[in-house]
């Protein structure tokens, strides 16, 4: 199709011309907005929070529907083969009970040892709990939408975890919902430790659901497939000893690992206080500087 030709009508010619000028103006405004977004990522946080509040109820409602459908399907599946499953679960329960006794003994011993050493233990309190209802499934960045916001006490920068492991941290907050930077995002760097040896490593997302684990010390590759990575608490944002990822393969000096908390499969996520509240201080000072 050829371009619209306005013909001899002066009005149509002007209309086309002004729409062209308006488009160029729109482009200029867009470039300015984008420059602000890149240079000062907090500049539009109120707008982004408001947009989250506008869209999160839709996502949340749709999530309820899909969760119900999935629940019906898997609920029906559970009745299948129920008798043998029951026996298996009973055996598992008995084995677990033994382990639980051992674990509680160890816990008690640990508490006594810590008291002897007079270690001050920082308890991390849960701020809010919510469901992961959506994600940035169209973009190279890895964000998720959590159904808890400012009205539940969530603030930008707080760590988010699931029972299985670390999920990420809050980067945008509306009053009803918040946006989480997942550990698999490229910009999310988590100080961590190799559980087997205690060696300090850092984890950085790869943008495709997995994370890259890099040792801090140069040397031969310390990883083995199946190794567990836990957070170290360095930096004060993420609490220590939270399970983070499991190594699946080695890659040069680094390792590729899968996060233990799969955001697609976790039903509940818990927002916690930053491990050391001072970790939030530079962030909030930076906020004040910005107009």
């Amino acid at each position: 199709m050829a371009a619209p030709r306005p013909g001899w009508s002066r009005r149509a010619q002007y209309g086309l011309f002004f729409s062209f000028i308006a488009a160029i103006l729109g482009l200029a405004i867009g470039l300015i907005l984008l420059a602000f977004s890149i240079a000062a990522p907090n500049s539009f946080k109120d707008f982004r929070g408001a947009a989250l509040d506008g869209t999160a109820p839709i996502t949340g409602a749709l999530h309820q529907v899909t969760a119900t459908v999935q629940g019906l399907a898997s609920g029906a599946g559970d009745y299948w083969d129920a008798a043998s499953q029951n026996g298996q679960l009973k055996r598992q329960r008995d084995a677990m009970r033994e382990q639980l006794t051992t674990a509680s003994a160890i816990l008690q011993e640990n508490r006594q040892l810590k008291a002897a050493l007079q270690l001050r233990e920082q308890t991390t309190e849960a701020v809010a709990a919510g469901r992961l209802v959506g994600s940035s499934y169209q973009s190279p960045r890895r964000f998720a939408i959590l159904s808890a916001g400012k009205s539940d006490g969530v603030q930008v920068g707080m760590p988010v975890r699931a029972p299985q492991g670390l999920i990420g941290r809050v980067i945008d907050v509306g009053s009803l919902a918040s946006r989480i930077l997942l550990v698999s995002d490229r910009a999310n760097i988590v100080p961590a430790r190799l559980l087997r040896t205690g060696q300090a490593v850092i984890s950085q997302g790869r943008g495709d659901g997995s994370v890259e684990i890099k040792p801090l010390e140069v040397g031969r590759n310390p990883f083995k497939p199946g190794d567990l990575i836990i957070t170290s608490g360095t930096g004060g944002l993420y609490p220590p000893l939270v399970p983070l990822a499991r190594v699946v393969r080695l890659d040069g000096d680094n390792a590729v690992a899968l996060p233990l908390a799969n955001p697609a499969a976790t039903s509940f996520a818990i927002v916690e206080q930053p491990y050391e509240p001072e970790a939030m201080a530079p962030l909030s000072e930076k906020d004040k500087e910005l107009p």
Binding site: M1, G26, S37, G54, T66, S136, R141, R142, D208
Partner: protein, 174 residues
């Protein structure tokens, strides 16, 4: 026989539906809202539905909307999908302006040329997203952008088909 050849298939009195001029923009809006679907994906490989529908409309017709409408629609996409504010504003407006310029140059067009143009615009969109992510401390390797790029290119004909159906419906040419 002559009578049946002369008779129009179109029913008399059937014209554009009320508000036909706003159907294209409304369909782009619906495409933008698809980002609200409750999909928790590990990788961002889904196509940018709003953008696909936008370029499908613009490739089908040059007069669906004044080019500057792309700017507010892009702003909406940024806010809904959580992109850095301004990213879609820039990409969408540039796409409209680029297609305006291309319309002056091309004498004729067929489906393959339209798909090739769409491919170029999708490539532009993905590359800008990748570059902006790199500027925002998330330098994903470019190879990670190949799967979403191919998926978007493959999804364009579907968007184009939906848009053609919508166009026939809004103009009352069923």
């Amino acid at each position: 026989m002559v009578r049946s050849a002369l008779a129009s298939k179109q029913k008399i009195g059937q014209g554009p539906i009320p508000g036909a001029a706003y159907v294209p923009a409304a369909s782009v809006f619906v495409g933008i809202l698809l980002a609200c679907l409750p999909i928790v994906a590990l990788s961002g490989w889904f196509p940018d539905f709003g953008f696909l529908i936008l370029i499908a409309w613009r490739l089908l017709r040059a007069d669906v909307w004044p080019s500057w409408w792309a700017a507010p629609l892009g702003l909406l996409n940024d806010l809904v999908a959580g992109y850095p504010v301004g990213l879609s504003v820039v990409v969408w407006t540039v796409s409209m302006l680029a297609l305006d310029l291309i319309d002056r140059r091309t004498i004729w067009r067929d489906y393959w040329i339209e798909w090739a143009l769409a491919m170029l615009l999708i490539l532009l969109n993905e590359t800008v997203q990748w570059q902006v992510a790199a500027w925002m401390d998330a330098p994903v390797p470019y190879s990670a952008m190949i799967p979403p790029l191919l998926i978007s290119i493959a999804a364009f004909p579907i968007a184009a088909w939906i848009v053609v159906r919508l166009d026939r419906w809004r103009l009352g040419r069923q």
